[in-house]
């Protein structure tokens, strides 16, 4: 058991499962097969949690094999407190996505499910890769299935959206590739991420590398002003695609900041933290206003995702201003932890909200808020779920949405009052756009005949939404398990980035 290559299993089980689905084709019982594969992967990922040692910041479950000897590239996997929760989030969300597409997707079911399973393997690969080339391979490989998912099963403007998505993210990542190769030469022919962490770099080099990373990760997160692909992609993607995008792919950008930008270029991060903080605060405030005026539910949630991810990036980069302001590190850890909690919690909440919209869309084939009204009269159980997730999105205490935001706001107080002030506006704005949408969709009079004929959610939908409600409430009242696993890793990260590389 101790020698089980767990991370490889987590990566390759879904990928081979997906290939198997492609091979057996449409006639076979692909749905149960995909469900079994995704559940097995999820159960295996729980072994990561039970076997995880939260007292050390070292990489765990490591695997290291030579891969491309000519370039010193290794098949090197490992997880720490930052990546482990995200891997579990990935495998958990994929199970829900498989369930959510059960009856809804009519065409080319095998290809649809295969794309999601292959995606899952690649995303887990991104979170666990400790070799820069391996990371890049997973990172870019991920684009292919997502490109196909949006393009094949998406809405009317899917082709525009998916090409925009692909080119935006591709543009972002090629500059990162150049930076990685540059560091490979600097490091004397090593591609290991952990070697890069120890690499001594001058300030100009660091700034350029930081900017290359910033383009890649900012597009992925996405941060204002490179966020414009997200609303298009979300609106056109099928429900499952939106869920994976919001719950996991956006987190990969945030993860990149923690794994690459901060530890590899600490001095450049210190020099340019104002830029990230500025971009994050604009995302929090301005994008929230943009969300307020949306008439399309999916677009509204997409903008809300950008605003919420702004919180995560804000939390990550507060450390330097806290250090400048107070001269000590206490509180800095809370910013990064808050950001991480925010990412995980947003994974649950945004997935849940997109699934809620999916439930409505499957019935009425409209995402426009005006087409609804009074849904709660016909779908009381569904309304209960949707209100819960909306409250969580607005950051109501007792839900997981509150924990992350609260921690980030607390940390930003230590850095600068105005950061905290602007960040805290989200509590008002977030509540405004989410609850206003809920009010217009769920409450009021039943506006149309179509709404009057709505059926409440069935058992499958109840299961999907219910299994998201549990973690939202659990981490809301008891975030300790989540915070504890990342504690040591984040303290280690802080100790690392506050030492100058110059």
């Amino acid at each position: 058991m101790a020698n089980l290559p767990l991370l490889s299993l987590l990566i390759w089980l879904p990928i081979f499962g997906g290939l198997l689905l492609l091979a057996v084709g449409e006639r076979a019982p692909v749905r149960p097969l995909a469900l079994v594969v995704s559940i097995l992967t999820f159960l295996a990922s729980l072994l990561l949690y039970t076997g995880f040692d939260s007292t050390t910041a070292a990489m765990q479950f490591e695997e290291r094999l030579s891969w491309i000897a000519a370039f010193n590239v290794f098949y090197h996997l490992g997880v720490d407190g930052i990546s482990m929760p995200l891997i579990i989030l990935t495998s958990f969300t994929t199970v829900l996505v498989v369930l959510a597409g059960w009856e809804v997707i009519k065409e080319r079911m095998a290809q649809y499910l295969a794309a999601f399973l292959i995606m899952e393997g690649l995303m887990i690969g991104v979170f666990s890769a400790l070799d820069a080339v391996l990371f890049y391979v997973f990172w870019e490989g991920m684009l292919i299935p997502m490109f196909l998912i949006i393009g094949m099963w998406g809405g009317p403007r899917r082709v525009y959206a998916t090409i925009k998505f692909f080119l935006y993210t591709f543009l972002g990542s090629v500059f990162m590739l150049v930076a990685l190769i540059y560091m490979y030469n600097k490091a004397g022919g090593l591609f290991g991420v952990l070697d890069f962490h120890q690499l001594q770099l001058g300030l100009t080099e660091q700034v350029l590398i930081f900017l290359a990373f910033l383009i890649a990760f900012a597009v992925k997160v996405p941060m204002w002003p490179v966020h414009t692909w997200l609303p298009d992609a979300h609106v056109e993607a099928p429900t499952g695609g939106s869920v994976i995008l919001a719950a996991i792919m956006l987190k990969i950008g945030g993860y990149g900041f923690l794994r690459f930008s901060l530890p590899i270029t600490p001095d450049a991060s210190m020099e340019l933290d104002w830029l990230i903080i500025l971009m994050s605060l604009v995302a929090v405030v301005y994008i929230s206003f943009v969300a307020l005026v949306q008439e399309d539910m999916k677009k509204l949630i997409a903008y809300s995702s950008i605003a919420h991810m702004g919180f995560a990036t804000l939390g990550f980069f507060l450390v330097f201003s806290i250090l400048r302001n107070t001269g000590e590190l206490s509180g800095a850890a809370m910013g990064i932890q808050g950001g991480m909690v925010q990412m995980v919690s947003h994974g649950f909440i945004s997935a849940a909200l997109f699934l809620c919209v999916g439930v409505l869309y499957d019935r009425l084939h409209s995402r426009q808020i005006v087409d609804y009204g009074g849904v709660a009269h016909r779908m009381p159980v569904f309304a209960g779920f949707m209100v819960l997730f909306a409250m969580a999105n607005a950051g109501l205490p007792g839900t997981s949405g509150f924990v992350g935001e609260f921690m980030v706001i607390l940390a930003s107080f230590k850095a600068n009052f105005w950061y905290a002030f602007l960040a805290a506006t989200t509590l008002i704005l977030g509540a405004a756009y989410t609850l206003w949408m809920v009010k217009r969709v769920l409450y009021g009079e039943v506006t149309s005949d179509k709404v009057a004929k709505l059926q409440d959610i069935n058992g499958r939908e109840f299961l999907v939404l219910g299994s998201l409600a549990v973690p939202v409430l659990l981490f809301g009242v008891w975030p300790a398990p989540l915070v504890e696993v990342m504690q040591v890793t984040i303290e280690n990260l802080l100790a690392h980035i506050t030492v100058s590389k110059l």
Partner: protein, 471 residues
């Protein structure tokens, strides 16, 4: 100078191919049309035996022969093997196409064999005259092959263009070589190299010679601004010929660029590096941008070839062993991808119908998911998206460029590959997101299908396990 048996032994692959080409030419006269397949089988057998001979006579250290005009070394062996492979695949893809159109003649294969012989001579040349000899043998065969469908106006037009511009390029190259002879007093590559090394600085004559030679080579490679012939020839030629032109000769062209610029004019690296930078950047820019405007797949692939040549030049201009190795890796992977992509066109074509428009790939996923997937792999590989082999080729070239502190060049290259990604994924979009308009069955030749599948999977498989060839 007495010639030794050992020297003939070194050139045995060339001698074998030459002998077989002549023999097949004669034998083919006595074969009736309905058993023409015999010619085809003999040609493929020739390639297999040639590969075995090449492996048998390979030498651990570079050896010169025939009065220093012929060289046998590791690079020559590897490139020859890939030339056989790519040529053999080209012949295989060509057969059903030619049969459907009544073009299944022995001449096609004989010309192909002679062209391949030209490439082999280019790869093993260590003398400027040998290079020229090989190049002309290759070019003359290719001109004839482009015009192979003699009833077609576009083919003849393409052949004419190719011939005129090709002759011009050969003239440039020859002119440059003659000046080089004037400046150094020799045409042996090694002697030229030492003459240049002995000279203090570079003389005007040498620089002139270099310019003409670079222009000639750029013509043959199809680098901007000497690329005008590429789209027209690719478009006009019968698809199997385009496939052939677009793959194996590029490997040979790479070989002569190496022999001439690196081995022969290596002392002038500072001078040709700048020229190649211009050629490379222009090729990347023009190739990728103009490809977007194409609606014909063959023309699109022609412009994509131009952009790949830009990448190839990046590897060479780095001027380091790593760079040369990267360029070699790049050209081999490129040849594999090009063969596959043109093979797909043949697969979709049938008698009286050329599937060379982008529109013809509409909804291929609905018609045949497997081959749509193969094309998807080929396209993503050309765009350089992991985990396909195209990514590692780009990675190694970029690595070589960054190693010599030309980060800006790497940035230009990746920038244009993002632009390039657009037209590759547009084809994926057409295959996967549009609904089919053409429901006809695909070519059913089992050999074609099998090799195309192997081709596509190789592009993916080499991507995952690329350690085996990069060494």
């Amino acid at each position: 100078m007495p010639l030794e048996t050992a020297e003939y032994l070194l050139a045995l692959p060339e001698i074998w191919v030459l002998g077989m080409a002549c023999l097949i030419l004669v034998l083919d006269l006595f074969i009736r049309d309905d058993s023409r397949i015999l010619t085809y089988l003999m040609v493929q057998a020739t390639l297999v035996v040639a590969a075995l001979i090449t492996l048998a006579v390979q030498v651990p250290e570079p050896v010169l022969a025939f009065g220093n005009t012929f060289i046998s070394d590791g690079m020559a062996t590897v490139l020859k093997l890939f030339i056989y492979l790519v040529t053999g695949m080209g012949f295989l893809y060509a057969r059903p196409y030619l049969q459907d159109r009544g073009l299944f003649k022995g001449e096609f294969y004989v010309l192909g064999l002679f062209a391949m012989l030209g490439m082999m001579i280019m790869v093993s040349a260590s003398h400027f005259l040998t290079i020229y000899l090989g190049l002309e043998l290759l070019s003359l065969c290719l001109y004839a092959m482009v015009a192979f469908n003699r009833d077609s106006g576009t083919c003849s037009e393409a052949a004419m263009k190719y011939f005129v511009l090709g002759a011009l390029a050969s003239g440039m190259l020859l002119y440059g070589i003659s000046m080089l002879y004037g400046a150094t007093g020799s045409l042996e590559i090694a002697a030229v190299a030492s003459a240049i090394a002995a000279e203090e600085g570079s003389s005007i004559v040498l620089i002139f010679a270099l310019c003409f030679i670079v222009v000639g080579l750029a013509f043959k490679l199809g680098a901007v601004p000497f690329h005008m012939w590429v789209p027209d020839v690719y478009h006009g030629a019968p698809t199997p010929v385009t496939l052939f032109i677009g793959s194996a000769p590029k490997i040979a062209a790479f070989a002569i660029v190496m022999r001439v610029l690196v081995d022969g004019l290596g002392g002038l690296v500072a001078d040709w590096q700048g020229m190649l930078v211009i050629l490379a950047v222009l090729s990347l820019a023009v190739g990728n941008v103009i490809a977007i405007a194409q609606t014909n797949l063959k023309r699109m692939l022609a412009y994509s070839t131009i952009s790949h040549v830009g990448f190839l030049l990046l590897g060479i201009l780095a001027g380091t062993p790593d760079g040369y190795a990267a360029a070699m890796f790049y050209i081999i992977t490129y040849a594999l991808m090009a063969v596959g992509a043109f093979g797909m066109i043949i697969l979709l074509s049938r008698a009286g119908f050329e599937a060379d428009e982008l529109e013809d790939f509409r909804g291929l996923n609905a018609r045949n998911p497997w081959f749509a997937f193969m094309m998807l792999i080929l396209m993503f590989s050309m765009a350089g998206v992991p985990p396909t082999v195209g990514f590692y080729a780009k990675l190694s070239v970029l690595q070589a460029v960054i190693q010599v502190d030309m980060v800006w060049l790497a940035l230009v290259a990746v920038f244009f590959s993002v632009i390039g990604a657009f037209y590759y994924i547009r084809l994926v979009k057409i295959m996967y997101f549009d609904s089919p308009t053409d429901e006809a069955a695909l070519q059913s030749n089992p050999g074609l299908r099998a090799v195309l599948s192997v081709n596509g999977l190789a592009v993916l498989g080499l991507g995952v396990f690329c350690c085996c060839i990069s060494s």
